[in-house]
Symmetry: C2
Subunit: 385 residues, 2 copies
Amino acid sequence: MSERNRGMPVVGMVGGGQLARMTHQAAIGLGVGLRVMAAAADDSAALVCADARLGDYRSLDDLQVFARGIDVLTFDHEHVPNRHLRTLEAAGVAVRPGPAALRHAQDKIAMRSRLTEIGAPSPRWCKVADLADVSALAERTGWPVVLKAARGGYDGKGVWLCGTPEEARAVIERAAAENVPLLAEERVEFRREVAALVARSPHGQGAAYPLVETAQRDGICHEVIAPAPGLDLDRAAEAQRLALDIAAELGVVGLLAVELFETAEGMVVNELAMRPHNSGHWTIEGANTSQFEQHLRAVLDLPLGSPQVTAPVVVMANLLGGADPDVYGRYVHVMAKDPTVKVHLYGKSVRPGRKIGHVTALGEDLDDVLGRARDAAAYLKGPAR
Amino acid sequence: MSERNRGMPVVGMVGGGQLARMTHQAAIGLGVGLRVMAAAADDSAALVCADARLGDYRSLDDLQVFARGIDVLTFDHEHVPNRHLRTLEAAGVAVRPGPAALRHAQDKIAMRSRLTEIGAPSPRWCKVADLADVSALAERTGWPVVLKAARGGYDGKGVWLCGTPEEARAVIERAAAENVPLLAEERVEFRREVAALVARSPHGQGAAYPLVETAQRDGICHEVIAPAPGLDLDRAAEAQRLALDIAAELGVVGLLAVELFETAEGMVVNELAMRPHNSGHWTIEGANTSQFEQHLRAVLDLPLGSPQVTAPVVVMANLLGGADPDVYGRYVHVMAKDPTVKVHLYGKSVRPGRKIGHVTALGEDLDDVLGRARDAAAYLKGPAR
């Protein structure tokens, strides 16, 4: 253990984005050390973390240097090459989640194969070598069909809704040219999207946050309501159980976010993420233990904290950059209008559509809380022009 | 405004202790920059803050260098020489609280004189040139009398309870030899100690947290209960009003903690502090806006956040170092026993009696919450041996 941190362990997090930034807030409270590997000195987390190191997450050398003197290696994104993590693990680094688990958040074909094996409710799907694969799926499901890049996609990137074989052929040809493996999934008719966030520790303790409703816009998480309004209690418990089961089956250590479609027949798994997740930012104020503290506790094999909520309704709304970069000028008005709304800014330069922060509102009444969160987010974004 | 922080202001805080450390957590959330002046690289805040600078708070040169490029200068302790702050203010640095206000937290004679002027309820007191002054006071109040160093005391240091003229003479002689100005105060018969924490912004907005009960042991804050149990509502409101009035009269910007004695006749002012205060640590989880966020909002002249509580009862217990330095080993058990208790560690090396962290428990029932906070603090301290 690091001498510098006085008998407390040091967690190394690869990635210097807002997830690492908010994890740093939690690490300060817990008194554990956080070392961040950032790509640039002005990355969101590097601006605030005393122990930020620059490095390239694609470089094994950089990862090896970074891992020296840390107790646990973890991640704020899933882009670190799995083979590097296997090398680090073989050399004795505690990689959490480990490469065998993380693979299922890095490769959608691995994820779908494994979920099918364990019987988790999934859309019908297939690997795509050529158009015949897609057409065979569409014969069972009908068009449109969703094509996805197996690796590298996020926030709606790498996902194509194809209404016809011609559209699918164009995607397949482009992917082949770029050497991107594809899978195809049926388009699920859902009522809404929800997310189940759970934590799992190395010796198998689990903790489940309440299910939340997530609203996406253009493939980006836009708003989260906790707990998901009007959700049948049995169905909610079943989805929490499903997420805990997936975490156990896959051997996840740390957080697992399971993005789900709620359909007339039940829940269907959409995506997995093994890290703090946008759908869990509400926990900073809205739960006894924030997802960031929970992730640290889990990867350090500390007993997990209580996921209980602190208010009947919590709403988180993402702040996306608008046309006017002067967020601070608008800050004042939002704070003056609503002294209870919590504004989080990530230290990022403002570009239209970029996630630059989020706001959280808490209260008793859904419409009231939703209205306050939306007002604050819209005002902070500023005029569209 | 600093280019590095992307249009967001930078607050400079002199002092690298746990108050600066916890202020950094709040600054990360708000997205404002925090620069800390620490005495050593392993100061509590310097361990976690990306923009920590080393410097001596007694050196005008160091303060001037530190103040370059910051928007507001503030403090995690009251030891910066007032004359330096006047020089900085004259040079255009926004010093908050300003030296004219801060003087009353630096010099107990200035504090008592001003509070007497504005009619705030105070113990009978006098400046002490020689024993005759103390004896004259004691003729009115009886012995014992409390002698205090006008400057430099904290956590019970610089306070002497004198039962006889002989004891007072010994203190006066020692103080004269060290050139320390003294004052004498009547010993107030109090039922308990309470604290009123308020914030005030440059254009005069005020916010008051609920009154809390503070338990001291050996002059060190030991435990805080929010809100103060069984306190008459009128008396609580009166004390909040008193603290807001003192903040306005003294021109405080930022936080003002007013330590009070609750007596049979009402409240009596004991001490003032103009910074985040140990009696306000409970607000991190227990209030909509933590005292650290509130201090930043106040010194930046942002609208203040809501001080409303998040639970009916909140208890904060300080963690003092014990004989065994392995706090982390005991951490696991505390977390396993109570998944809802929040542990805060300050990154300090463990020395017996040193404040190394605190725990916070929240709930509905006073005995339950108090018991959980005490259990966690006692367990983390470890065996006395």
